[in-house]
Symmetry: C2
Subunit: 282 residues, 2 copies
Amino acid sequence: MNNLTTPASAPPVSQLVLNLITVGTERPFEGILDACIRHGITAVSPWRDHYADIGVQRAASALRERSITVNTLCRMTGFGPADDSSSWQKAIDDARRVIDEAAALGAVSITLTGGGVASSGGSIQDARQRILEGIQTILPEARAAGVLLAIEPLHPMCAADRGAISSIKQACAMATAAGQGAMVMIDAYNTWWDPEIETSVANAARLICGFQVSDWLVPTTDLAFDRGMMGDGVIDLRRVRRMVIDAGYEGPVEVEILSNRWSARPIDEIISTVVQRFASVC
Amino acid sequence: MNNLTTPASAPPVSQLVLNLITVGTERPFEGILDACIRHGITAVSPWRDHYADIGVQRAASALRERSITVNTLCRMTGFGPADDSSSWQKAIDDARRVIDEAAALGAVSITLTGGGVASSGGSIQDARQRILEGIQTILPEARAAGVLLAIEPLHPMCAADRGAISSIKQACAMATAAGQGAMVMIDAYNTWWDPEIETSVANAARLICGFQVSDWLVPTTDLAFDRGMMGDGVIDLRRVRRMVIDAGYEGPVEVEILSNRWSARPIDEIISTVVQRFASVC
């Protein structure tokens, strides 16, 4: 596995997908899309919050009018916690809405983080079992809608409250158990520390349906919203990108920076920095 | 691996080791020891900061006078970052002082977290290689001093700046590569999320030289100093303890709570809560 000697060259900007959480969820959706166009970005990944106020149909029109495509819709979650049967049904109902919205937006995939253990009790093993059952329950409907489920392992620091899938290997096992249409999203931020990342990415192979980048800051002051711009942290992003390419992945590279600091800046400053670092670091 | 059906009964307080970081590093060492005695605790694990002002010889006397034994001395670190040769030599020199101090205190082991990647550059793979070289360099001297090196995988959120050993499996591989006298410290807080924890602990077997507990809070607001008292979080501590016992570990259970909130409380409140939760949760 030590043949990662040649770093990949920088990806062309045509391969860049901007995950819209990078600019926060408070700006008007159409204004965000216009800013993307100004910087040559023609593919985005929204969170559902981005169009909650205008509705998915108007969001879909805004995208079509600008010929902007959607990579992944964030996110399907809530299966993990063991509250009661109504909470489970709520998660399933919510998942159905996500599928409808993803189909309306023409999204390639839905990012599925699954949910955490939460404070409601139950072990992490139980949470993982419920997430797998959630995937198996909803997958036929996603398949029928022509949308992939992109199972995303989150950083282990998110296991308790955001997503209990904690390694690429575990996400792949779930995708394989669930069957056709269930794939895996690899986010360098969530997985760079994994002692087995090389083997895990290689084994993931054709299950990989997305690749996301940002950077790990030193120090990091928040467990969710203190990610860094590529190049400002310690992750060897080009090395991870080399791994996913070597595994056979040929899709886009998505920039997803959850950062209260970045999202508060002027949108053109955020996106121009993304484009510049994408070319120099990724 | 699914035969963990019988939870272990609560451990007797005679098995409790208090890691002194739980009460912070600002209190006088002898006062901390007196408080331990008041609550029936006769074994501790100091950090070097705990006796920096009085010196290790006086600390050793204070322990002897109270018949308090030392489990592990925290901590050996600094091998990871690729600064320059002087920084490496500084880490080795420092490691030698830790061994001298551990011997003076009669400590069973030294906890080795190794160091992170830091902002000085270099990949996490490089950092891990340097940590292994640090262990191999210093191990003969630890062995000669009769002190074990307890290699501790830290939580992956600490990989960048505190310790780049990120799984039990990786710590075991390093201990095995280094040879006799190198063992592994398993901290439930650092490892509870690991999808392969059961297999990894079982395989660690006789390499396990220590077991630590605290709890994962929801939410967690700091990457280092927001651990919870046992029972206040989401970790199934008894399940993890069952794993280490089934792996053959017969040593003490150490309470190590890095928490700015807990360490600020009155010392008798902290320790009495530790003793009570130890009996009811661990």
